[in-house]
């Protein structure tokens, strides 16, 4: 058993101790995590981003074009001073423009058009038609629920009420999956404690 395993087990127990009540061990683990994560992030960004993308191209390959993104990045830091906010806006404007240009077509294509095309396709044959019909009814009634420009009365109101049931089923399914996800995290920690630390479980 390594020292790392003991440290990891101790920190796991520190975090679990919060389930009893807030205590200094929990707060120690919490603060240690924040500090270690920030330090790790900085080191990885330096090693994997700044050195290969800025340092090496500029100093070894003499690619002066790198100076442009470098300058834009440094201008972002000007926000730290009140008078530098205007300088930082140039970088932000560039970033927002590029991001919008990249993201909007991708989003429209993948999340809107492709999904609309799927919703409008013919019903599946056989029993699959029941599923297709449910999807269609769900789509129309949920859209009716989220249409707020007219009062939820009459046919529109009835559709919206049906839409609520579809939404509740969706939320229930999502919540069930969420419970499963959280339980998975607990199981992994218990596996670690019982197997890697206490060695009462067989190895992987």
């Amino acid at each position: 058993m390594t020292l790392q395993t003991w440290i990891a087990a101790f920190l796991t127990l520190c975090v679990f101790s919060f389930l009893y009540k807030d205590n200094p061990f929990y707060r120690f683990a919490e603060h240690l995590f924040v500090g270690a994560a920030a330090g790790y992030l900085l080191a990885v960004q330096w090693q994997n981003v700044l050195i290969p993308n800025v340092w090496t191209p500029l100093l070894h390959d003499h690619k002066l074009v790198v100076l442009i993104p470098l300058a834009l990045g440094l201008m972002m830091l000007a926000r730290a001073w009140d008078k530098g906010a205007g300088i930082a806006r140039w970088s932000l404007a560039f970033y927002v423009g590029i991001y919008s240009g990249v993201a909007i077509p991708g989003y429209m294509q993948a999340q809107i058009f492709a999904q609309l095309a799927d919703a409008a396709k013919p019903f599946a044959p056989g029993w699959g038609a029941v599923n297709s019909a449910l999807v269609l009814v769900g789509l129309l009634t949920v859209l009716a629920y989220f249409f707020f420009s007219a009062p939820h009365k009459g046919v529109h109101g009835a559709g919206a009420r049906v839409g609520i049931y579809f939404l509740m089923v969706a939320f229930g399914a999502s919540f069930g999956y969420t419970v499963m996800a959280r339980v998975s995290l607990l199981i992994a920690r218990v596996q670690f404690l019982l197997r890697d630390w206490l060695h009462v479980l067989p190895g992987p």
Binding site: F18, L19, Y20, K21, D22, A37, Y40, L41, V44, Q45, N48, V49, P52, Y99, V102, A103, G106, Y107, Q109, A110, Q111, A114, Q115, A117, D118, V135, A170, A173, S174, Y177, T178, V179, M180, A181, V183, S184, L185, L186, I187, A188, R189, V190, Q191, L194, V200, L201, P204
Partner: protein, 285 residues
């Protein structure tokens, strides 16, 4: 009724203990409950299984330690399947803390299947910027990754030598616990038409069902359950399958507690109670 009031005012730490015991006991005394394979995971398995030997896939393991419980076993299972089929894997991550996890997943799977670095797989490591990296790979892989994680130029690595964009890849696999999956759908699949399989956390799984229906995804592996199904399909017994007994028992405990709690509240209100008053087990009081 006194017992109902006591039940409604139960210390929540008793519930924590129950859940903790539910997670630990099945690990110590396995029940070996069956793991049924769902069509979504079967589709992901079939898509990878159909790749001919020598095919190349891009595997992006976009997660950090907070969700490794779900995605690490999934990564190992998918990698083992690829190595077993002699499918070459070019692996990467879009998260800084995913660097160590991704490398560990690859080495675990490679050790189990006898895969060799640079011959069977390449590890590109971390690169920042979701969309930029995805588009960059579509235009020029070397522009994004001139060297691999260990500093070896991609042209010197047999796995990556003839790969310059998605066009030379037979599939993209993304194992993610974040919006990275959306971007892979938008860019790798939507813009560059790369066949895409996604593995995600259980929390996210329902969000991606529509993409299966629209055929934007070839398959979907959701959470530890999905990972356990994949382990069953490749006939291994990893951490996900080991955890499924505990998963099932904790679910039963949660369902039981929900039923008992609601029944007690109902009985309390019928008998004119106020629902048990303040929760005596509150940790913040």
């Amino acid at each position: 009724m006194t017992w109902v009031r006591q039940l409604l005012a139960i210390d929540r730490r008793i519930i924590f203990l129950l859940v903790g015991a539910g997670a630990a006991l099945p690990l110590l005394f396995p029940l070996n409950l069956p793991v049924a394979v769902t069509p979504r995971v079967r589709a992901a398995y079939d898509a990878i299984d159909a790749l001919p030997p020598g095919s190349k896939v891009l595997l992006s393991m976009d997660y950090e330690p907070d969700i490794m419980a779900e995605l690490f076993p999934m990564s190992v299972a998918v990698l083992r399947h690829c190595f077993r089929k002699h499918v070459q894997v070019i692996a990467m991550t879009l998260y800084p803390a995913g660097t160590g996890l991704g490398e560990r997943a690859i080495s675990t799977a490679a050790k189990a299947e006898g895969a060799i670095l640079n011959r069977d797989y390449a590890w590109l490591g971390y690169k920042s910027g979701f969309q930029v990296v995805m588009i960059g790979i579509g235009e020029n892989l070397r522009g994004m990754y001139p060297v691999d994680f260990y500093g070896t130029p991609l042209d010197s690595i047999p796995v990556t030598r003839h790969v310059n964009s998605y066009a030379q890849l037979q599939m993209v696999i993304n194992l993610s616990g974040s919006s990275a999956a959306d971007y892979w759908i938008q860019f790798a699949q939507g813009r560059y038409h790369a066949p895409l399989v996604i593995g995600c956390t259980a929390v996210m799984a329902t969000d991606y069902y529509p993409y299966l229906s629209s055929k934007q995804l070839l398959g979907l592996i959701g959470g530890m359950k999905g990972a356990a199904e994949y382990e069953r399909l490749i006939d291994t017994f990893g951490d996900a399958r080991r955890g499924m007994d505990a998963q099932s028992l904790v679910h039963l405990i949660v369902v039981g507690l929900v039923i008992v709690g609601n029944a007690a509240l109902f009985i309390s209100k019928r008998s004119g109670g106020d629902g048990g008053g303040p929760a005596s087990g509150s940790m913040t009081r």
